[in-house]
């Protein structure tokens, strides 16, 4: 090996090396000192700050959803239940590729485009880190099993148990109860955010919406120690959620189902009230729809089908349907006439089958072409003589009519806990000027006197007004709630705008007069609903009505058969039983049913029978 470093000075090299090594060691000590100083800075001076961060890191407040209160009918039958369901959820933070995971899941269980769209929507909404987001609701046992065996391939996928609202009576009750649905951004802004931090559903309609505050309950909180993946390791503190209050409604589910059955396939509405309390015993709007579809979110197709159906299943006819009340308001018009002193109760006219304001003027026709002959108030009600009411309507004018009808609750919402209830229209001079921009004509008064023309009312309003008659003027506001089960002292407050004074007549005998006339409708020889009153072993007071859907021109022959089914008259009926000790008030509207006596009265009779005979059974059972 050739050496080419003859002048290598080992001693000086060694000395240089020693000095360099010493220098290096000094630098090492210096830098070690720097590290130590850094640690002192972090662990001594910044200790408090980092200790706080560390605690906040591991301790999280987790809300626990309260259980929603249950809804019972008056006999303790469960109307709205909470059922355990299993949802398929994904935790985004634990999933590498969300779309791939969804695609994999779609091979195992049906996942629709809508599920995916809903998932992404929920993903965008407010959420805590590591909070699972639901992809599919209501997994079946088989679906759960199929996903569960593949969990190892699907990080971040989990199946969560949840309590979901379930309506066992489905479409039969939807218009009475409303439903809950998934809470949306707008609703979230309205409610107490903290209280709803674990809640996924909120009352969207009806009773569920009105009693949301009571049914919801109070959120619970637990302080949990979590790891960095958000997994709960242990619970440090826990404040249990307060379950929502259970409520009991006046509703009688058996009566409700009987009413629905009595309506059959016909479109229409039935409202039954307990006149003593104003409690709503039945509230049917047919057809209905299955609210359970809405709880987890209805599909666009299903929703469009409901929305576009000609039968308007989404429409709550019982509280929002605006029908001409027709002859069902003749009692109130009659009362207005005698109580305002326009005519005496004995006032009698001779009916030729029509009424004319002036000689040679327009004919206001009676439903009976040849007329009723001599009629007084009682027979006019019993036979529903239009001419008589044209006459008294003409005599008293619009003001007393409108005033008295208003006292019976027309033209406004008087029900206490049906948030969607509609006030419909009670026309008056002032109303016509304001809304139509026209003065009130005498002809308008004639139309109003037989419940046609501008006036419209909901079935609930018809039942309510009839209830005031049954109660001889005593007012109670119709209501769904009977009581809050764990708070029996709770009384449903009546807001000022819904407080109506009892209807005071100059003579109490006028009530008898009218109720007797209504009994004649059911039991009299010429009563319009005599066929429906036949054979009842209790007395019924009632009134039929037939509302024109299309105006009938002068001298035009009216032929129900020739009219398309949708243009046929609506059949209406209001009544109560027993007439001298009213226990149930009923209003029935059968859309395009043809006539009140043929379409609506039989439905009401079935209800009366069902209710009265069952009461009797119960009484007999009690005695036995």
């Amino acid at each position: 090996m050739r050496r080419h470093s003859p002048i290598k000075d080992h001693l000086s090299e060694r000395r240089t090396f020693a000095s360099r090594t010493l220098l290096a060691f000094a630098v090492v000590v210096l830098l070690m000192g720097a590290l130590a100083a850094r640690m002192v800075y972090l662990q001594v001076f910044e200790h408090d700050r980092y200790a706080t961060i560390s605690d906040r890191n591991r301790v999280q407040l987790e809300p626990i959803a309260p259980t929603r209160g249950l809804i019972y009918d008056r006999n303790g039958r469960l109307l709205a239940d909470n059922r355990p369901t299993h949802n398929l959820s994904i935790v985004r933070e634990r999933t590498d590729d969300i779309d791939a995971t969804i695609a994999e899941l779609a091979q195992l269980v049906p996942v629709t485009e809508r599920d995916i769209a809903g998932f992404h929507k929920r993903l965008r909404e407010r959420r805590r880190p590591y909070e699972p987001v639901v992809l599919r609701f209501r997994m079946s046992e088989a679906e759960i099993a199929r996903v569960a065996v593949n969990f190892h391939r699907l990080p971040g996928v989990q199946i969560d148990a949840d309590l979901t609202r379930y309506y066992p009576y489905a479409s039969s009750l939807v218009h009475a109860l409303g439903y809950v649905g998934r809470i949306n951004e707008r609703e979230l802004e309205r409610v107490d955010q903290q209280n709803y931090s674990a809640t996924h559903h909120i009352g969207k309609l009806g009773v569920e919406k009105f009693y949301e505050d009571r049914l919801h309950g109070k959120v619970g909180l637990q302080k949990v120690e979590t790891d960095a993946r958000g997994q709960i390791l242990r619970v440090l503190e826990r404040e249990d959620p307060q379950p929502g209050q259970d409520i009991r409604l006046h509703l009688d589910i058996e009566l409700q189902l009987a009413a629905e059955q009595a309506l059959g396939e016909q479109r229409g509405a039935v409202v039954a009230l307990d006149p003593r309390t104003g409690g709503i015993l039945a509230l049917v709007s047919h057809p209905g729809y299955d609210p359970n579809l809405f709880v987890t979110g209805i599909s666009g197709r299903d929703y469009r089908a409901l929305q576009q159906s000609e039968d308007l299943p989404l429409f709550n006819r019982a509280i929002r349907g605006r029908y001409p009340p027709a002859s069902t308001i003749k009692m109130m018009v009659g009362l207005a006439a005698i109580d305002s002193g326009t005519v005496s109760p004995a006032y009698t006219i001779s009916d030729p089958g029509w009424y004319q304001l002036t000689e040679g003027g327009r004919y206001y026709r009676d439903w009976k072409r040849w007329g009723h002959g001599k009629v007084n108030l009682k027979t006019a009600i019993a036979e529903s003589c239009d001419t008589y009411f044209y006459d008294i309507g003409h005599r008293m004018g619009v003001d007393p009519m409108s005033d008295y009808l208003g006292r019976f609750g027309f033209g406004r919402v008087t029900s206490l806990d049906l948030p969607e209830a509609n006030g419909a229209i009670l026309p008056s001079k002032e109303w016509k000027r304001r809304v139509r921009g026209r003065p009130w004509y005498t002809g308008d008064s004639l139309n109003l006197s037989i419940g046609q023309g501008f006036m419209v009312a909901t079935p609930l309003q018809l039942a309510t007004a009839t209830m005031v008659i049954a109660n001889r003027g005593r007012w109670v506001n119709p209501r769904m709630l009977q009581r809050v089960i764990d708070e029996p002292e709770f009384e449903l407050p009546v807001p000022e705008r819904k407080q109506l004074a009892d209807v005071q007549l100059k003579r109490d005998g006028y009530w008898d007069h009218i109720i007797t006339a209504m009994e004649e409708v059911m039991h009299g020889e010429h009563g319009t609903a005599r066929r429906s009153g036949q054979g009842a072993d209790y007395r019924i007071a009632g009134k039929t009505g037939t509302a024109q859907v299309v105006g009938i021109k002068q001298d035009e022959e009216y032929d129900a058969e020739a009219l398309a089914e949708r243009l046929r008259d609506h059949g209406l009926f209001v009544g109560f039983a027993p007439s001298r000790d009213p226990q149930i008030v009923v209003a029935v509207v059968v859309e395009n049913g043809g006539g009140g006596s043929s379409a609506a009265a039989p439905v009401a009779r079935e209800l009366f029978d069902f209710y009265m005979l069952r009461q009797k059974d119960v009484q007999l059972a009690d005695q036995g």
Partner: protein
């Protein structure tokens, strides 16, 4: 030229001779260094048990690694440094060959190719071996040259050094290439290079900073940016640093107690048993635990430098000095990174972090240092 011209006797050697050779001296181990390394390993295992989530299985695996590594160290300590010196250039050639092979047929994970799977051999990381081979080669080169080295020789050294550094940086493995580069630089500095060259190089390095930025990969730039402002991305890249600083800071002076660190036991701390293990120690054992660890490291480095200063030839001096100082770079870069004063570079905490190859390489390095110390002859050349 004849060696005997420079022969002279060593008085201490005569004492040694009189005492006779003890059984211990046959092992060629340095007692002080070995004690310090065993102390560090025991301390490391203790922390590792907590950092691994109290996994006995992981501790067993780590213990096996220590065992293998200590055996390798003892075997290497027995080899006369002469042989290293002779083998250095050949090892260097083989090393460069395997590095090229890694780039061509290597296997790896997370976008980096670091491993070589040769038939009949266990999977290994050539870059780890280069941590020993590079200082060895450079020391070999300087051992023959008059020192302080001329610019030409430094130039050759830089070229030799650049080859493995660039090849490893290309894998990419910034941490290892940084360690290898620093081991080379230490050889040059210890060789007694004139300070004016050092200053000129420093100036050049400062100027080439922007250039370096341009050749860096996206994730490397991201690391630098994250280092400069970890709060900019608290859930992403900055997460590690924020969580490790939180772990360290929340530990306080005495710590939360062994196995009681919430940051580490609840998995907030990423990589808690590998690169970020010091945060576990700092959280659970507090400042006291950290200072104890730093003290052990400092003693090991001091002993390594002492051995280097007492080595009998230039090769031994440069090699032992470079290995000791590189060991310090490990410590400094790792703790600096975890405590947030340096950017995140994948450098383990030496002899504490989980990781088989690094433990074996490090202890092999100490084996070389011991060999340099225990193979001193009674005569100097």
């Amino acid at each position: 030229m004849n060696y005997r011209d420079f022969q002279r006797t060593m008085p201490e050697a005569a004492v040694d001779l009189r005492r006779g050779r003890s059984l211990w001296s046959y092992t060629h181990l340095d007692f002080i260094l070995l004690s310090l390394l065993l102390l560090l390993a025991s301390y490391g295992i203790f922390v590792f048990y907590s950092a691994s989530g109290q996994s006995v299985a992981a501790v067993e695996r780590q213990l096996i690694r220590y065992g293998v590594a200590f055996v390798v160290m003892m075997l290497i300590a027995c080899i006369n440094p002469r042989h290293f010196r002779r083998a250095a250039p050949w090892l260097f050639v083989i090393g460069i060959g395997t590095l090229i092979a890694v780039l061509l047929v290597g296997v790896g994970a997370k976008g980096a190719q670091r491993w070589l799977q040769l038939p009949g051999l266990p999977r290994f990381q050539p870059s780890e071996l280069m941590k020993l081979i590079v200082p060895m080669t450079l020391a070999w080169y300087f051992a023959e040259k008059p020192l302080p080295p001329s610019l030409r020789h430094v130039g050759v050294i830089l070229v030799l050094m650049a080859m493995p550094v660039l090849l490893i940086a290309k894998q990419p493995d910034l941490g290892t290439s940084l360690l290898i580069a620093s081991s080379g630089i230490f050889v040059i500095l210890l060789s007694g290079i004139l300070w004016r060259y050092v200053l000129a190089a420093a100036a050049l390095a400062a100027a080439s900073g922007p250039l370096l930025w341009m050749v860096m990969r996206d994730y490397q730039r991201q690391r630098v940016l994250t280092f400069l402002n970890p709060e900019s991305d608290p859930l992403g890249a900055g997460w590690n640093i924020i969580q490790s600083k939180t772990a360290i800071g929340s530990g306080g002076i005495y710590g939360k107690g062994w196995l009681n660190g919430t940051q580490s036991q609840l998995d907030f701390l990423p990589e808690s048993h590998t690169d970020f293990i010091i945060a576990v120690l700092a959280e659970e054992l507090g400042l006291m635990g950290v200072l104890a660890l730093l003290a052990i490291y400092l003693c090991i480095i001091a002993r390594g430098l002492y051995i280097a200063a007492n080595a009998q030839d230039t090769f031994g001096r440069l090699l032992a000095g470079s290995l000791s100082l590189t060991f310090f770079v490990y410590v400094f870069v790792n703790i600096g990174m975890v405590s947030g004063i340096l950017p995140v570079v994948g450098v383990p905490l030496p002899l504490v972090s989980f990781g088989g190859t690094s433990i074996v390489t490090l202890l092999a390095g100490f084996g070389i240092i011991m060999s340099i110390h225990t193979h001193r002859t009674m005569v100097t050349r």
